[in-house]
C-alpha cells in the first residue's frame, strides 16, 4: 500500500513539475510597492509642421463617384445623373429559347438608392424625371447635356412619397423610345432630374460600387418570358476603355459649383474636392523618438451653404506616391487606405466650427527612418460622401490667421528603460 502511495505521489509531483513548464509570470498588483519607478515618460509638443496645404477640386474624377448625386436645391444646387446603356439587347429569353424583341411590354429603370436615415428623409414628395440625353456632340460636357433635359426628350417620370424611399426605386419609361433603339441597334442614354418642393438630395448606385441602375425590358406578356436586364455600359470615348468604362454612369452639376478661397481648406462640396497637406517634421522627432500620438489639429469654420447639420465623415488618407509624382492633382489620385496606418475618421457637420483633431500616428510612424525622398510627409483629407452629397467641411489653411492655422501635436517617448535594475 505504501509503495502505491509513494508511486502515486511521485507521479503527481512529476506531472506538476512538467505542467509548470507552462509559465504564468504575470504580476504587477504589488506595484508601486515593489516596482516603484517604471512609467515611461511622455513628451508632448505642438508644431506648425504643415508647409503646404491646398484644396484640390474635381476629385473624384467624373464617373468615379461611389454614388451619383441627384440633388435639387433651387438656385443653390442643381445636379443631374447620367446613365449610359450603349448596348441594348435585341432578344429575350423564353423557356430557354431566345426570341427577337419586336414588342416591349414595359421598360423599367431599377434605381438602387442609399436609403435616407430617419433624420435625413425628405419632408416632401419628390419626382424623378428621365430624359433622353443621347447626343452626337461632346457627350460629357455639362453645358451640352443640360440642354437635353427638355420636353421633346422626356422619357418618363414618377413621384415618390418620402416613406417609399427604401433601397430601390422603379421608374417606367417610354417603351416606344426603348423599342425604337432596340430595333435600330442604337444606344440609350438617360438623364435623371429630381424635383421637389423642398431641397432634395438622392444618392443613386453606380457600376463603381456594384450597384448600377439597370434597365429591365419585358418584351412579352407571357409570364414565361424573362425580362432582359440591361446594365450600364459606355462605348465612348472609343478605344479608350479605361475612360469609357467610368462613364457608364456619372453626375453633372448644372448649378451651384463653388470654389474655395486660399485661406480655407475645403473637403467634399460641389464639385467635390480634397485637401492636400505636406509636413515638415523635425527629424529628431520622427527618427529618434517613439511617437505615440500624432494629431493633425485643424480649425473648422462653418460652411452655411447646404446641409448645415448633416454630418459626414472626413477621412485622413495616406498618399502612396513617391516624390516622382509632383503634380498635386495626380498625387491625390494616389490617396488611399493604408492598412498599417490605422487612420481614423471624424464625423463633422458643415455648419459646425471649432478645433478638430485627426489622429494620424500610424501614418507618422511609417515615416520613421525613411527619407522624404522615399516616404514624403504628405496626407490627404477626403469626404466619405465625396461626389455623393453636397456637404462641405471647411478648415482654415496656413494662409489664415496664425491662431487658426493647421498644427501638428506630437506625443512621444524619448527614452525607454535601459533594462538595468
Amino acid at each position: 500500500m505504501n509503495k502505491k502511495v509513494l508511486t502515486l505521489l511521485t507521479a503527481g509531483l512529476v506531472v506538476v513539475a512538467i505542467a509548470a513548464c507552462s509559465e504564468n509570470l504575470e504580476g504587477g498588483r504589488s506595484c508601486p510597492l515593489l516596482c516603484p519607478e517604471q512609467a515611461v515618460t511622455l513628451l508632448d509638443t505642438t508644431i506648425d509642421a504643415v508647409v503646404t496645404d491646398t484644396t484640390v477640386p474635381g476629385l473624384p474624377p467624373i464617373g468615379s463617384e461611389g454614388f451619383l448625386m441627384l440633388a435639387s436645391h433651387g438656385d443653390t444646387l442643381e445636379t443631374r445623373a447620367i446613365i449610359r446603356f450603349d448596348t441594348l439587347p435585341q432578344s429575350y429569353n423564353k423557356t430557354s429559347l431566345d426570341s427577337t424583341i419586336v414588342h416591349i411590354d414595359s421598360a423599367i429603370l431599377v434605381i438602387p438608392i442609399v436609403k435616407p436615415d430617419s433624420t435625413k428623409r425628405p419632408k416632401a414628395p419628390l419626382t424623378i424625371e428621365v430624359y433622353n440625353v443621347d447626343t452626337t456632340e461632346a457627350d460629357t460636357v455639362t453645358s451640352v447635356l443640360a440642354t437635353l433635359f427638355r420636353p421633346d426628350r422626356f422619357l418618363g417620370s414618377k413621384t415618390f412619397a418620402p416613406e417609399s424611399l427604401l433601397d430601390t426605386l422603379r421608374l417606367p419609361i417610354s417603351t416606344d423610345s426603348v423599342l425604337t433603339r432596340v430595333l435600330a441597334g442604337t444606344r440609350l442614354r438617360v438623364g435623371f432630374r429630381v424635383r421637389s418642393s423642398l431641397g432634395i438630395d438622392l444618392r443613386i448606385g453606380t457600376t463603381h460600387v456594384g450597384l448600377p441602375v439597370t434597365l429591365n425590358i419585358v418584351a412579352s406578356k407571357d409570364t414565361a418570358a424573362r425580362p432582359a436586364i440591361v446594365a450600364p455600359l459606355s462605348n465612348t470615348p472609343k478605344d479608350v476603355p479605361f475612360l469609357s468604362s467610368t462613364l457608364s454612369d456619372y453626375t453633372i452639376v448644372l448649378k451651384g459649383g463653388t470654389s474655395t478661397p486660399t485661406t480655407i481648406l475645403g473637403v467634399g462640396g460641389v464639385p467635390s474636392r480634397r485637401v492636400f497637406l505636406r509636413f515638415d517634421i523635425p527629424s529628431h522627432l520622427v527618427d529618434s523618438t517613439t511617437i505615440v500620438r500624432a494629431s493633425l489639429l485643424l480649425t473648422q469654420t462653418p460652411n452655411r451653404r447646404l446641409s448645415l447639420h448633416d454630418s459626414v465623415f472626413i477621412y485622413p488618407l495616406a498618399i502612396l506616391a513617391t516624390p516622382v509624382v509632383t503634380d498635386v492633382s495626380s498625387l491625390m489620385q494616389f490617396a488611399g487606405s493604408c492598412a498599417i496606418c490605422n487612420l481614423d475618421s471624424l464625423s463633422l457637420a458643415p455648419g459646425d466650427s471649432g478645433l478638430r483633431s485627426f489622429e494620424i500616428v500610424g501614418l507618422v510612424r511609417t515615416w520613421r527612418s525613411q527619407p522624404t525622398t522615399v516616404s514624403p510627409r504628405t496626407l490627404a483629407l477626403r469626404s466619405g460622401t465625396e461626389g455623393q452629397l453636397p456637404a462641405e467641411i471647411d478648415f482654415f489653411s496656413t494662409k489664415a490667421p496664425l491662431a487658426v492655422r493647421p498644427r501638428l501635436r506630437i506625443t512621444y517617448v524619448t527614452k525607454i528603460s535601459s533594462g538595468l535594475p
Binding site: 504564468n24 517617448v413 525607454i416
Partner: protein
C-alpha cells in the same frame, strides 16, 4: 513611490524657410529606471536558485558542499565514479501578498545541467551550467500621465524580463588520498536578460501602443576551489569562489562593470549511520559586488546562507533504497526590495532512488519558502525540484 511631476515648457522658434514653428512642449517627467519585478525574490538581477541539485535541495542545501551533482564544491566530483549526465527542472509556484492583494505566478527553471567524465580512478572532469541569478518575470501596471491641465492618458505598461545570469563551470577533481579530495573550477559567467517594454493606452483611438526590446548580455569570469576531508563518521568540506571582473553589455556596447561575487562555504556532516548523512552548511556570498552592474542605487546584500538537513536511508522499494531527505534553510536574498533586505526561510523535503539498474538516479525535492521584508510585503513559494542523472 511613484513620482509624477508635470512641467510645461513652451518654446517658439522662428518660422524657418520650411515654415515650422515649435509651438510648445509639455512633458511629464517620470523616472525610467526599471525595477520591474513585482515580487520580493527576484529583485535586482534576480533570484538565486542556489546552484543546488535536487538531492541537495531536499536537505535544504545542507549537503551541497558534499554533493557532486551540486556545482558548488569541485572536490566532490571525485564521487562520480563513472560518466554522468545530469539535468534538473525546478518550477516555482509563487504567491506574493501586499496590501494591494495577492497574486500567483509560476516560473519554470532549469537550474542545473552538467556532465562529468572520469579519467582513471583519481581524476574527474566536469562541464556544466547552473543558474546564478534568474530574473524572469513579467510586470503589468496601470498609470495615468497628465500631458497638460486638460489632457491626460491612462497607460498600461508591461515589463517582461526573460533570462538569467548563468555560471558555466569547467572543473576537475582529484583524490590524492583516501581521506582527501580536492578540486578546482574555472567559471564563465554568461547569459542574458531579454527586456521588453510594451506600452498601451486606454485611448487606443488617439494613442498608438509600442513595444521595445533589448538584450542585456553578461560576461565575466571566476575561479573556484574546494576540498573534502573524509573520515569514518564525519565528512567536512570547504569551497570558495573568487570572482573576476564582469561586464554588462548591449550588443557591442559595454554599459556597466562589476565583479562576480565571491563566495565561500563549508559543510560538516555526520555519516556514522549507514547510508545516511546529517549535515549543516553555511556559506557567504558577496552579492554587493554586483551593485555597480545596475543603475546607481542598486544595492546587493552580502549575505549568509545556512542550512541543516539530513538524508537517511528509508524503505526499500523493489530492492532499491529510497533515500528520504529533509532540511531547513535560512538566507538573505541578494537584492533589496524597496530598500529593505529580503529574508528567506525554507522547509524542504524529498526523496531519491535509483532506476534502470542503477544507471539513472532520480531525486525529487519539495521546497516551501517564506520570504519577507520590512515593507509590508510577503511571499510564499512552493518549488518542485526534479533531478535526473544518467550514467550511460
Amino acid at each position: 513611490m511613484m513620482m509624477m511631476m508635470t512641467t510645461t515648457r513652451s518654446a517658439r522658434l522662428e518660422r524657418t524657410v520650411r515654415g515650422w514653428i515649435v509651438g510648445g512642449v509639455l512633458f511629464t517627467a517620470v523616472p525610467v529606471a526599471m525595477s520591474a519585478q513585482a515580487n520580493l525574490s527576484s529583485q535586482g538581477f534576480g533570484y538565486p536558485p542556489g546552484q543546488f541539485s535536487a538531492r541537495a535541495q531536499g536537505t535544504g542545501g545542507a549537503i551541497a558542499e558534499l554533493d557532486p551533482l551540486s556545482p558548488v564544491n569541485p572536490a566532490t566530483l571525485t564521487l562520480l565514479g563513472t560518466r554522468t549526465l545530469f539535468f534538473q527542472m525546478e518550477p516555482e509556484f509563487r504567491t506574493v501578498t501586499t496590501s494591494a492583494g495577492t497574486e500567483r505566478t509560476t516560473t519554470a527553471r532549469y537550474p542545473v545541467v552538467f556532465g562529468a567524465i572520469p579519467f582513471g580512478s583519481q581524476l574527474v572532469f566536469s562541464l556544466g551550467s547552473s543558474t546564478l541569478l534568474d530574473r524572469t518575470s513579467s510586470t503589468t501596471f496601470l498609470t495615468t500621465q497628465h500631458l497638460s491641465a486638460t489632457d491626460s492618458v491612462a497607460m498600461t505598461t508591461k515589463f517582461h524580463v526573460d533570462g538569467a545570469m548563468n555560471d558555466v563551470r569547467l572543473a576537475v577533481a582529484w583524490t590524492p588520498a583516501t581521506w582527501l579530495r580536492v578540486g578546482v573550477g574555472a567559471h564563465a559567467i554568461a547569459g542574458h536578460n531579454l527586456i521588453s517594454v510594451t506600452q498601451s493606452f486606454a485611448d487606443s483611438a488617439r494613442f498608438a501602443a509600442f513595444s521595445e526590446a533589448r538584450v542585456l548580455s553578461f560576461d565575466g569570469g571566476a575561479v573556484s576551489a574546494g576540498v573534502e576531508l573524509v573520515s569514518k563518521n564525519v565528512l567536512a568540506a570547504f569551497s570558495a569562489r573568487r570572482g573576476g571582473s564582469m561586464h554588462l553589455s548591449v550588443e557591442d556596447t559595454s554599459l556597466t562593470t562589476a565583479n562576480v561575487p565571491d563566495r565561500f562555504g563549508a559543510s560538516i556532516a555526520f555519516v556514522g549511520i549507514a547510508n545516511s548523512t546529517i549535515s549543516v552548511r553555511t556559506s557567504h556570498d558577496n552579492w554587493s559586488a554586483l551593485g555597480t552592474l545596475g543603475e546607481p542605487g542598486l544595492k546587493g546584500v552580502d549575505a549568509w546562507d545556512s542550512s541543516v538537513g539530513a538524508e537517511i536511508a528509508g524503505p526499500k522499494f523493489q530492492d532499491r533504497i529510497i533515500f528520504l531527505r529533509g532540511g531547513f534553510r535560512t538566507r538573505t536574498l541578494p537584492f533589496q526590495a524597496a530598500g529593505s533586505d529580503v529574508k528567506e526561510n525554507s522547509l524542504t523535503g524529498g526523496f531519491g532512488t535509483t532506476l534502470a539498474q542503477g544507471r539513472v538516479i532520480a531525486d525529487l525535492a519539495v521546497i516551501h519558502a517564506n520570504r519577507s521584508a520590512a515593507i509590508g510585503a510577503s511571499e510564499q513559494a512552493w518549488t518542485i525540484s526534479l533531478g535526473i542523472s544518467v550514467r550511460p
